[in-house]
């Protein structure tokens, strides 16, 4: 076997890319027809079409964008921080975004665009804080990084709880749901913003994929071999904060997507970030659509927050990864 046959990333890209797109298509169609009210997509009546186009599809498509955003951001952060356990939710990035969103709701309740902007700011600030805390003179190890994430997450959670106590009782319940990750508040404008951010963010991350292939082995190494380390770090942090911030402002903190999805993708295609980043986005989209369909249907007509489902899958995986490392 020569290098040419076995490394053929292009063939892999087409094969897996096509499979993941088909999976996403199937997931969206299934999600569209399943729910408290089962809808036949081939014989739509008026009520069915209202449910489908006004309620279900916006939610499904938003879920796909949120999943893509969180998974791509997770994959990018893992490579950058050289740590397969890095995840937006565990690093406090999601909570930073959640706090930003809350501030926007409390201060600029009526202004739609304040939420994504402040969520992005919150995500960026908490990323920066965790990164600075985890760094030491001798570099950064897993334990330091996770601990810093826990501390920042805890701190932000208490601030969030303080702020929630300012809300009235009816908003409190919907807010608690939202904090756990909830797609039921999907709106068309939220979907458009999230779609734009998912696409742009994943593209920015993908331009850094080759540099990340070196960075995930070592920063000094990457520098030796021609990577502008600072520039790559800034691009990946900014893109991840944008992806997470905007996803969280639309759907709350859906946890563990950024951990589960890139991990499964790496099992299938290896560690080359040129494949891992875009494929994580594609698979993340299907994953959240499927998880949210489960959240909607499991105890229908009542609903679970989708974050509860992803956490149920993600926690055991995290423990397994931690033990294996």
């Amino acid at each position: 076997m020569t290098v040419r046959e076995s490394i053929n990333g292009r063939a892999k890209a087409f094969r897996y890319g096509a499979a993941l797109l088909i999976l996403l298509g199937i997931a969206i169609l299934a999600a569209a027809s399943l729910g408290a009210e089962n809808i036949s997509l081939f014989h739509l009546n008026d009520a069915g079409s209202t449910i489908l186009f006004e309620i279900r599809l916006p939610r499904i498509l938003l879920g796909a964008c949120v999943g893509a955003s969180l998974a791509a951001a997770g994959a990018g952060l893992q490579a950058l921080l050289r740590n397969p356990l890095a995840e937006p939710y565990l690093l406090g990035v999601s909570n930073g975004a959640a706090l930003g969103t809350m501030v926007a709701i409390v201060l600029f309740g009526s202004f739609d665009y304040a939420r994504p902007v402040l969520a992005f700011a919150g995500a960026a600030l908490s990323t920066f804080a965790v990164y600075q805390m985890a760094r030491s003179k001798v570099g950064m190890n897993s334990e330091r990084l996770i601990l810093s994430g826990v501390i920042v997450t805890t701190l932000l959670s208490s601030v969030i709880i303080l702020l929630t106590s300012l809300l009235d009782a009816t908003r409190l319940r919907s807010f608690t749901f939202w904090l756990l990750g909830d797609l039921s508040q999907a709106t068309r404008s939220g979907f458009y913003i999230c779609l734009a951010s998912a696409v742009i963010g994943t593209l920015i991350l993908s331009t850094q994929a080759k540099a990340l292939n070196l960075m995930m082995v070592g920063e000094r190494d990457a520098f030796d071999f021609g990577v502008e380390v600072e520039r790559t770090r800034l691009a990946v942090f900014a893109a991840s904060a944008g992806l997470v911030g905007i996803a969280v402002s639309a759907s709350g903190s859906v946890g563990f997507v950024g951990l589960i999805v890139p991990h499964l993708i790496r099992l299938a295609v290896g560690s080359d970030n040129r494949l891992v980043l875009p494929f994580s986005a594609l698979f993340g989209a299907s994953f959240v659509v499927i998880a949210d369909t489960a959240a909607r249907t499991m105890i229908a007509p009542r609903e679970l927050p989708v974050g509860a489902i992803t956490a149920l899958i993600g926690c055991p995986l995290f423990i397994w990864l931690l033990r294996r490392n």
Partner: protein, 256 residues
């Protein structure tokens, strides 16, 4: 090829190197010797500007490194550093190919030139049948050969090696130096090698640079630098010198 002019360097408030000048001409291997903490690795890191110098300048083919981009430097100078570990499943082949980063675009797939350079690196380092193994499953010596293969794959003309033979068995030590030698002599390149093995330096280096507390204690061909007095002054040990009956080069024996 590589010219070092009056450089000083250090970390934070600590000065490590003071006013160092030397040249690595084309086709030559220079060995950097010195006691622990003498500044060998620091010096090596300034040679590709991984560490900024406080003063002075390093030139690659008459071009000051401070005016070159990271990619330009990486195309001209490749590094075999002390090994790194990764928690990701990276294969030997992917690792070697990542050395081609400075060639071509910063994204997209490798070109045929990239693939064949990597293939050559894998073959000469005797790694061809290990290409699909994962980096974190290799032994220390195997990993060191992968690091050399990646450096060779860059096709850079200058190689900087930090204790490249530390984990290698005798036959692979010879392989390492044979390959470095071929790159230096055959392709008009040159190499700077840090080693603790005075006999390896004597056999394979054209020049030896003896560092003591951040300054150059001696510089010249092995026969001139490896003297009992200099070794005592730099390493604080007494040695016996004779010549290797096989090659005629200086042989150093520690008197313990």
């Amino acid at each position: 090829m590589l010219k070092v002019q009056n450089i000083s360097a250090g970390y934070g408030s600590r000065d490590i190197l003071r006013d160092i000048s030397f040249e690595v001409p084309e086709g030559r291997i220079t060995a950097l010797l010195g006691a622990n903490g003498a500044g060998k690795t620091t010096l090596l890191r300034t040679l590709n500007r991984t560490l900024e110098t406080r003063s002075g300048e390093v030139f690659l083919a008459d071009m000051p490194l401070s005016e070159m981009s990271r990619r330009d430097i990486a195309r001209g100078i490749a590094v075999v550093a002390q090994e790194n570990e990764t928690s990701f499943p990276v294969t030997v082949q992917e690792f070697v190919l990542s050395g081609r980063f400075a060639h071509g675009s910063t994204f997209g797939w490798e070109t045929v030139a990239d693939l064949s350079a990597a293939e050559t690196g894998l073959v000469v380092c005797e790694l061809a049948d290990m290409r699909d193994r994962l980096m974190n499953e290799l032994s220390g010596g195997e990993r060191q050969r992968v690091l050399l293969a990646r450096a060779l794959a860059t096709e850079a003309r200058v190689l900087l090696l930090d204790e490249p033979t530390a984990n290698l068995d005798l036959s692979h030590q010879a392989m390492m130096f044979r390959l470095v030698n071929e790159r230096s002599k055959g392709c008009g390149g040159s190499a700077v090698v840090i080693t603790h093995d005075l006999n390896l330096a004597s056999e394979f280096a054209d020049e030896i640079l003896l560092l003591k507390k951040g300054e150059i204690a001696a510089q010249g061909p092995p026969g001139k630098v490896l003297t009992a007095d200099l070794i005592r002054s730099v390493f604080g040990v007494d040695v016996l010198l004779d010549s290797n009956p096989g090659t005629g080069n200086v042989r150093v024996t520690n008197l313990w």
